[in-house]
Subunit: 131 residues, 2 copies
């Protein structure tokens, strides 16, 4: 498929999987990771292991159901470990796997970039809204 | 607010804005950038400028309405430039601003990581589903 409107592809941008294709499995993973709550859950777990209730407090605004679904998806993708601690009462602790830590590091880099650039972004938004 | 369940905060993780707070403006920007279509639009524009129709073909599966909304949000945040070319007929071209290029570089790093780790992720998913 050659599309004359597409820029010539660069070797550096060639991925093994192709996230641009709607049926590609990597797109689903990217969407879990970068989803509304996936991003925040991974960024929080990059700080250290959390129990469910503490993680829910850290990720301000998430519902119990959404956080539970998010953690399940992240666990299924092999990014988060769920450990049942044999304390009385038993506690469930969530932590990043090695792969999850790699992904979280990329994500926190992105968050850090956006947070440090917020003055420029806020200015751009004000200019846009004043048009 | 000290929460005994929270890991001690590390200086390296202290952000000027705090994406974890639901009212923080940075969270909205992160969600535009990492949203279902924001990610793919930025990753595509990292390849070079696109006209709307070509971008829509590149981001397989996006509707005209969703792509249009996504580009508007990215333009408002100062990440994407919309230029009307004075050709006959006039053409509209989208490209990344400098800030958009920085953000896109972080995102493509994330996409690249997930795509190269897909074998491990697929294996984790199969293990999880077989439980």
């Amino acid at each position: 498929m050659t599309d004359p409107d597409l820029p010539a592809s660069e070797p550096g941008l060639a991925f093994a999987a192709d996230v641009f294709e709607r049926a590609c499995a990597s797109r689903e993973v990217i969407q879990t990771v970068t989803g509304r709550w996936g991003t925040l859950a991974l960024a929080a777990l990059a700080e250290g292991p959390y129990r469910f209730s503490a993680l829910r407090r850290r990720v301000d605004g998430v519902s119990e159901r959404m956080l539970s679904q998010t953690l399940q998806a992240l666990e299924r993708d092999g990014l988060v470990d769920r450990a049942v601690l044999t304390t009385i009462p038993p506690k469930v602790e969530y932590s990043l796997t090695d792969l999850g830590a790699e992904v979280a590091a990329q994500l926190t880099g992105l968050i850090h970039l956006v947070e440090t650039r917020m003055p420029a972004i806020t200015e751009a938004q004000a200019d846009y809204d004043a048009r």
